[in-house]
């Protein structure tokens, strides 16, 4: 295969990875801080897509405004889930929150089905058909926009965790919850902040990706499975692990489809994860401290 085709595959893989990374990052934050496998994030991805769709179609809001709107709403919803469902359940153990997470996913899915119907929707991209073409390599303006926004969001979260006081407190809480309480970190409030952040990221992913992919209320369940696998693969609770994991899995899938066959794409993705987990049970970038 020629160079342009290879470059095109790389662009495709990068783009798939972007969606995985946004959702996986939120999941890993929640898992790291609260030890909850929040499958309901899938529903927030789906709702993000619907918020952007209706804001642009029905309210005539600009797409660029609809994305933060989606993030705000899904962030708020995630916070509510955290406060009203997960927190009361958490003291009864992890299995309960897991069941609750699946429950919320299904409930939100059905509420969406009832509210919006089962029809496929597509958000109209403000960039229309615009595209950047280098030789035969095509990157639509919308894709470029999505990649840039994803990079900004990932970079922003990364910097925030690294350099801001609430960010450091979140990391502290994830690494050593008891000491975090002892230095005066309010674990309940920060836990909710983690939910809000993760929800907003999932909502952003939904609103960003759904301008080129048809979606219906079931889209979230599909997205969340792969993203959760990536979180395990990258290292539960590891932020760089989620991002690197998304890239590795997105690229592995793309290259398998490209050079082997599409039907093996998922297989190779999951096989790679299993192999790496054999060698490193803590995940690609997960760490074990005594």
């Amino acid at each position: 295969m020629d160079l342009t085709t290879i470059l095109q595959f790389t662009v495709n893989g990068l783009f798939i990875s972007a969606a995985y990374a946004l959702v996986a990052l939120g999941l890993t934050l929640i898992f790291g801080v609260l030890h909850i496998a929040d499958f309901a994030q899938g529903a927030l991805y789906m709702l993000g897509a619907y918020v952007s769709f209706y804001a642009t179609q029905a309210l005539g809001v600009s797409y660029f405004v609809s994305v933060p709107m989606a993030m705000g709403l899904t962030g708020a919803l995630a916070t509510l889930n955290g406060a009203l469902v997960y927190r009361p359940l958490q003291r009864h153990g992890g299995a309960l929150t897991f069941v609750a997470a699946l429950g919320i996913l299904l409930i939100l899915q059905n509420v969406a089905l009832w509210l919006f119907g089962g029809d496929f929707r597509l958000i109209a991209s403000p960039f229309g058909e615009g595209r950047i073409t280098v030789g035969e390599v095509v990157l639509t303006h919308h894709q470029a926009f999505v990649l840039v926004v994803t990079a900004l969001l990932l970079g922003g979260v990364w910097m925030g965790l690294r350099y801001t006081k609430p960010g450091k407190a979140l990391r502290a809480l994830a690494q050593q919850p008891e000491a975090a309480r002892l230095v005066g970190i309010d674990s309940a409030r920060l836990g909710l902040a983690a939910f809000a952040l993760a929800g907003a990221l999932a909502g952003a992913a939904g609103a960003l990706m759904s301008a080129m992919r048809a979606f219906d209320p079931h889209i979230g369940a599909v997205v969340i499975l792969k993203s959760f696998a990536i979180v395990i693969f990258g290292g539960m609770g590891s932020v760089p692990g989620a991002i690197v994991g998304a890239l590795v899995v997105g690229m592995a899938e793309t290259l398998t489809a490209a050079y082997l066959a599409a039907e093996f794409a998922d297989l190779v993705g999951f096989a790679l994860m299993i192999v790496i987990l054999f060698a490193r049970p803590q995940g690609l970038l997960g760490r074990v401290w005594a």
Partner: protein, 418 residues
């Protein structure tokens, strides 16, 4: 007539009327007797094909509602009314098996569905064993072939097209009209996807065309990004792409096909005629080709047909008048099931499932949403499809249902019962 006798007659009339409105079963004493026939639907009501399943059910519900509002219909000396129950098969074998077992337990007399090939294949032996006739919608060839024989499902029929009925004329159109001979194929990795691609390939090769590479089968459900497959297609040197998937997938394939600037033809299944597809893709689908199954006579066409499809129009009007929406092919599955059973019962003068199905399989023609046709001994509807395209975002019918049979004929009744 004595007053006592008059009172008795009067009472039975009132009783009949009351029971008619209540929709209950009438004890054998009333005249004329009312019989309720229960039709169970095994459909994907949630999951990836939920919309298709829901619409199928909606078609059946509206058909039943209108029939019952008109007081039912007469079979022999009795009035028959339908009652519908449904189970969600989630478009997958395991839940489909459970759904089928539940319908058997609920003692339904007939079954409609499934819409999905893998689900229908799982259900066929169960309904065969329970001797419940199954009216199938899915396209996998086996459902009226090897699988039906293995299951001994002699009472099952397929209401509409099978893969060959859709793909034979499409491949023929590609080669003989568009001169597209070298194809790249992609499809969802399901019985449906594989059957469709297989049938397309066999006619394509018979007419001197070929696949330039092995078909790409992507994961179903869950694939939303087709760019890598499309990039492969772009570099494959093919004249055209044949792509088989459900509506959501076809929207993604079509948009990403345009986005990547593929300069080739695109051929799909009849899901391309779905209104949801049309809404999402619009004029970006111009020039794409697909089998035309459901024809209510409204869309522009490039030929004239002597005989309008009456049942399609009737269903279309019913949806507009009662539900204020445009009917789709999917509504036709449920609606067609009810009307096939009704017509067969009326002609047979019985509601006995085995007798009704013997009538369906007798070769007699029935008026259905996808045309007027009979059923072959293997259970396959002996029907044909036309070919449609999009022009300026409008569905446009290019050739009529007789296209596959015109010389060089690519499809005969014997091809349908292999």
């Amino acid at each position: 007539m004595g007053t006592r006798r008059f009172a008795l007659v009067w009472c039975s009339v009132v009783l009949t009327a009351v029971l008619l409105f209540a929709g209950g079963r009438l004890p054998a004493t009333g005249a004329p007797a009312v019989e309720t026939v229960t039709v169970g639907f095994a459909l994907p009501l949630s999951g990836a094909a939920a919309r298709e399943g829901q619409e199928s059910l909606e078609g059946a519900q509206l058909a039943v509602r209108l029939l019952n509002e008109a007081g039912g219909f007469r079979v022999g000396g009795r009035v028959v009314r339908f009652e519908i129950v449904s189970e969600d098969d989630r478009c997958a074998p395991a839940p489909a098996t459970e759904a089928a077992n539940r319908l058997v337990a609920r003692q339904v007399q007939f079954v409609g569905g499934s819409f999905c090939s893998s689900a229908a294949l799982a259900q066929q032996p169960i309904f065969a064993q329970a001797r419940i006739p199954q009216v199938i919608y899915a396209y996998a060839t086996d459902l009226t072939g090897a699988a039906r024989q293995r299951a001994g499902a002699v009472l099952s029929v397929r209401l509409g097209p099978q893969a060959a009925i859709e793909m034979a004329p499409l491949a023929k159109y590609a080669v003989t009209v568009n001169n597209h001979r070298r194809f790249f194929a992609m499809a969802q990795n399901t019985d449906f996807g594989r059957s469709m691609v297989g049938e397309f390939r066999s006619v394509l090769e018979r007419l001197g065309g070929r696949f330039v590479a092995e078909p790409e089968f992507y994961t179903f459900p869950g694939t939303t990004d087709f760019r890598t497959i499309l990039t492969k297609a772009r570099g494959s040197g093919a004249d055209a792409l044949v792509a088989i998937g459900l509506v959501g997938e076809m929207i993604g394939v079509s948009l990403q096909f345009r986005e990547l600037g593929l300069a080739m033809g695109l051929y799909g299944s009849d899901l391309l005629e779905d209104p949801a597809y049309q809404d999402a893709v619009g004029a970006r689908a111009d020039g794409f080709l697909y089998p035309w199954v459901y024809d209510d006579g409204v869309d522009p066409r490039r030929f004239t047909r002597s005989e309008p499809e009456r049942m399609a129009r009737e269903m279309s009007l019913a949806f507009l008048n009662t539900l204020r929406k445009r009917a789709t092919r999917n509504h036709g599955w449920g609606w067609g099931t009810i009307h096939l059973l009704k017509q067969a019962m009326e002609r047979e003068g019985s509601t006995d499932p085995e007798r009704v199905m013997r009538r369906v399989l007798s070769g007699a023609r029935f008026e259905l949403p996808f045309g007027t046709y009979g059923f072959l001994p293997c259970g396959q509807a002996d029907m044909r499809v036309g070919i449609g395209t999009y022009a300026e975002g409008r569905r446009t019918l290019l050739v009529d249902r007789d296209f596959a049979g015109r010389p060089p004929a690519v499809l005969s009744a014997t091809d349908l019962c292999r």
